[in-house]
Amino acid sequence: MHLYIPNIRVVLERGQAYIMEALAQNKKHRKTATILSIIPGLGQLYNRQKLKGVLFLLLAVSYFVVFSDLLNIGLWGFFTLGTELPRDHSIFLLVEGIIAFIVIAIGIGFYLFNLIDAFKNGRKRDEGFALNSIKEQYHSVIDKGFPYLLVGPGFFLLIFVVVLPILFMLFLAFTNYDLYHSPPAKLVDWVGIENFTDIFTLEIWRDTFFSVFAWTIVWTFTATTLQIAIGIFLAVILNQKDLKFKGFIRTLLILPWAVPAFVSILVFAGMFNDSFGAINNDILAFFGIGPIPWLTDPMWTKVAVIFIQTWLGFPFVMAMTTGVLQSIPEELYEAATVDGATIMQKFKSITFPVIMAATAPILITQYTFNFNNFNVIYLFNEGKPAVSGQSAGGTDILISWIYSLTLKSAQYSKAAAITVLLSLIIIVVALINFRRTKAFKDEGM
């Protein structure tokens, strides 16, 4: 691949130089067409592409006719967030403002396309090529437009249910939207980075943020590493040639993955109940151990959620690892046996490296998954038990804390600020991970 690039470049440069030389005397059309295209369509008309020119002109005019109100109010609303009650609803205005920005971005995209199109066709004329006729233009629109037709619907949906909410969240983090500044009764204002400084300087926020953050990290690493370790361990045990009932045992062990997680978590919540649960009353009592406060003592709740996530998560790792193990050639192990390697040595030098090479990126996504594993934390005990001196529960991770801040205490802007911090963390980790994956390299990003 590397050898090709300079070659192509040399060829291109030579070709370009040749054309430039031959046509140096004439750049008139491309200049005029581009300048005229400052008003969309005129450049195309100048290039004698009547249909396209009229279409572009119409599009440009209708853009301003249709969107002028939205752009006007949207931008005004975005910057002021409303000035007068009860006429202005700050949150409506913010959303309109974001939509206005999206519309402006689309407009700029079209405008650039119009300029480039005029320039390219002008250049074609300068170079003496014939321009496409109307019929050819029609075909070219179909050919060039088809991918946009395919991507369009999905992209449109994506803009409104994914991109818009994320932008909205981002902007919300810089406002004072909470219970006391809540439309329609009150206006919301821009407050700059106050939410972020509050989180890091006000004692109640700072203490809570850091204790929740610390637990989120501990939780992510312990639960994920355990589920990976146990998954690999069981896969290796199950992969022994002389073991019987392999298929049956594997199916049984995959059950936690097969049952919807929310069902299992709610069942566990019942089993771990302090006074009536089966864990305390049946299992621990059977071994002569006194009841453990699973739901009321933060330490024990943490142990319980880690156990539950391990239970839920190991089957996927096991199933995936099994696939990898079956692809390792038997000869490798035979050769190692001949050389006198022990079971542990074989695992360390053959099995483990192969598994890691094949599955590392997916295992890392398991970490990011648990970092945001809302279901286990919230459905098991709603992030409780309560802890004195902080506004989050003892097992709350960032995402479940955000959820409670939003839906229970209406601390919208603080929740948004924490969401921004959380997203930054995820994006950084994910980017580091994905930069190494194959697809990324294939596309040359």
Binding site: K144, A258, T437
Partner: protein, 278 residues
């Protein structure tokens, strides 16, 4: 002799470990089945082997709670999400794989970044937006949110698969005079069935696995999905309904579990492809 003994020890140990693992895996499952058959109503009376087994809780589940409605809601949402997601993702994945168009690279990059941020971190924004446009408490709104959230990651998955289908196929079809749509519909789609099946499965299972979006966007009892409804059975709304909850759990776990087990290898292949291919 010592080799034989070593093998014996190794196998015995293996069976012991597997036995413990199976016990830990099966206990909660058997326990909830047992609880659903227990005569009492509360957690206190739950046990793994019920003394006077009864199916009364299954009856109560249908008569006293909106369980059937929840089930129907979830299936409806799942099927709609699946159909829409497969259509949208199939189209975008195909376009990104086969066409070179202005904005393609930026589009792919955008999808890559978006798939990293889990959709539900914007749950607050979705809640406010849904209430602005009147889609709060509506299944349609929730379906759109699910489909939109599925697009980024699965488009990469579909694109990766389309990339493996040789381009010569489309080219020869084009020479034979097939149009854009016909090439997609008659040549590529039949070959892409495996990946579309994986995407369909992922999409179908999403509403069954999601709690946070459904619980935020759906408010009233009649619109709830199973996850939200079942949670309300064990939280305050229906006091002392643990055995009813258990019955409800069993009726979800069995069909979904069977469905899952029969398609399990697709899940593994889909997830691994998603991880290594982007």
């Amino acid at each position: 002799m010592s080799i034989k003994r070593g093998k014996f020890i190794r196998l015995t140990l293996s069976y012991l470990i597997l036995l413990v693992a199976i016990a830990i895996v099966l206990y909660p499952i058997l326990w909830v089945i047992g609880s659903s058959l227990n005569p009492g109503t509360s957690l206190t009376s739950s046990s793994i082997i019920p003394k006077n087994a009864t199916i009364i809780h299954y009856k109560e589940l249908f008569e006293k709670t909106p369980y059937v409605t929840w089930y129907w809601n979830t299936v409806k949402i799942s099927v709609s999400t699946m159909v829409l997601a497969v259509i949208f993702i199939g189209l975008t994945g195909y376009a990104f794989s086969r066409y070179r168009f202005l904005g393609r690279k930026n589009g792919l990059l955008l999808f890559l970044v978006l798939q990293m941020v889990p959709q539900f971190v914007a749950v607050l924004a979705l809640y406010i937006l849904a209430s602005l446009v009147g889609l709060l408490d509506s299944h349609f709104g929730l379906i759109l949110v699910y489909v939109g959230g599925l697009i980024p990651m699965n488009t990469w998955l579909a694109k990766g698969y389309f990339d493996t289908i040789p381009k010569e196929l489309d080219e020869s079809a084009r020479i034979d005079g097939a149009g854009h749509f016909r090439i997609f519909w008659q040549i590529i789609l039949p070959l892409a069935k495996p990946i579309l099946a994986v995407i369909a499965l992922f999409s179908f299972i999403t509403p069954f696995a999601d709690f946070i979006l459904a619980s935020t966007l759906l408010q009233s009892d009649e619109t709830k999905t199973l996850a939200v409804g079942l949670f309300s059975l064990v939280s305050n709304e229906y006091e002392n309904a643990f055995t009813i909850f258990a019955a409800g759990s069993v009726l979800i776990a069995i069909p979904i579990g069977l469905l899952f087990l029969s398609f399990q290898r697709y899940f593994v292949s889909g997830l691994t492809a998603g991880g290594t291919k982007g």
